[in-house]
């Protein structure tokens, strides 16, 4: 598949998930149980991107020792939990990562 086809299909599926419920579904079709489960979607999906990006190295192996990303991500997480700020989370993580690789 060409890059352009890939971009178009990804755009289409993204749009359809936004459009389908607005256009087609009546709210009665959504009971509280489904709503409750869907509220867990971010917690279920984002870690699948977060964890491998932290623990898996460039050659596809799990790396625990000598991996500054783990400590940096933990610092970011604690800053995030206490500040509840998206921007503070991202910047504290990047700053500690740079500190660990360039200074320490």
């Amino acid at each position: 598949m060409s890059n352009w086809a890939l971009i178009l299909y990804c755009g289409l599926i993204t749009y359809l998930t936004r459009f389908s419920m607005i256009a087609l579904i009546k709210k009665e079709m959504f009971n509280d149980r489904i709503r409750e489960i869907l509220s867990f979607v971010p917690s279920a999906i984002f870690p699948a991107i977060i964890f491998p990006a932290i623990f898996i190295n460039d050659i596809g192996l799990i790396e625990i020792d000598d991996n500054p990303k783990i400590l940096a991500a933990m610092i970011a997480m604690f800053i995030g939990i206490f500040s509840r700020s998206i921007i503070a989370t991202i910047f504290s993580g990047l700053a500690s990562y740079w500190f660990l690789i360039f200074v320490v």
């Binding site: 890059n3 352009w4 086809a5 890939l6 971009i7 178009l8 299909y9 990804c10 755009g11 599926i13 993204t14 998930t17 936004r18 459009f19 389908s20 419920m21 607005i22 256009a23 579904i25 009546k26 709210k27 959504f30 409750e36 489960i37 869907l38 867990f40 979607v41 971010p42 917690s43 279920a44 999906i45 984002f46 870690p47 699948a48 991107i49 977060i50 964890f51 491998p52 990006a53 623990f55 898996i56 596809g60 799990i62 990303k69 940096a72 991500a73 970011a76 997480m77 995030g80 939990i81 500040s83 509840r84 998206i86 921007i87 989370t89 991202i90 993580g93 990047l94 990562y97 740079w98």
Partner: protein
């Protein structure tokens, strides 16, 4: 009733604080896309056509890992399944609108606009209240397109040594800050993360995002059911 313009402007003002993190997110996307080998036009087209930060980053992440198109598209679909919830929640406020408005508003139904307009739509019953959602979405659109463009230009100038790709997990981590306080969410986060990491090399076709997400949702189903019986 406030004028359409006033409601639109209110949407812009309300969404503004949420735009601060969108700036680095857009820059990072632009820089990474060029780094991975997409052309500047393809990169810009991604932001214009897809217009979804999480979708676009997942696309890059899996593309650079050599995943097949089918896996990339279905993973993007999985990441977007949260929009089904947004759509279902706001649909009751939009049910009287003409189809053309529903088509337009759907394009702007993004995390940030949903977060602020959901509050507004609940409190206001004016017929033109949906302009709030359009205002928030349009603001994010402008920021997203311009930061993508800046990222494309800066791409070549940012040294790889900086490890800016680490901003990807940090961005997603930041979207979960409120979930780290809830017990069931933490369990779901750990299960999903472990399945994705341990299955990274063993789950075929790089489908680890989908498998891990399903494992997480299944965990949530079990834990919330038990919760209710207790």
């Amino acid at each position: 009733m406030k004028s359409n313009l006033k409601v639109f402007l209110k949407g812009i003002i309300d969404v503004s604080p949420l735009m601060i993190p969108v700036v680095p997110f857009g820059l990072i996307f632009g820089v990474l896309a060029i780094d991975i080998g997409f052309t500047p036009i393809e990169t810009m087209a991604m932001s214009l056509i897809i217009f979804g930060g999480a979708s676009q980053i997942v696309l890059l992440q899996l593309f650079s890992g050599g995943a097949s198109s089918l896996v990339i598209i279905s993973s993007v679909g999985a990441v977007n399944s949260r929009h089904l919830l947004y759509g279902a929640v706001v649909s009751e406020h939009l049910s009287d609108l003409k189809l053309i408005w529903k088509i337009i508003i759907s394009y702007f139904l993004i995390d940030q606009a949903f977060a602020i307009s959901n509050e507004y739509l609940k409190k206001n019953k004016d017929h033109n209240r949906y302009f709030h959602l359009v205002g928030g979405g349009a603001t994010c659109w402008v920021i997203w397109q311009s930061t993508t463009f800046l990222g494309i230009i800066l791409g070549a100038a940012i040294p790889e040594k900086l490890g800016l790709s680490f901003a990807v997990p940090l961005t997603f981590l930041a979207l979960l800050v409120n979930d780290f306080r809830k017990f069931i969410n933490v369990i779901v986060i750990i299960i999903s993360g472990l399945v994705a990491t341990l299955g990274y090399n063993y789950i075929p076709f790089k489908a680890y995002v989908i498998v891990a997400a399903l494992a997480g949702l299944f965990t949530a189903m079990i834990l919330t059911r038990k919760n209710k019986k207790a």
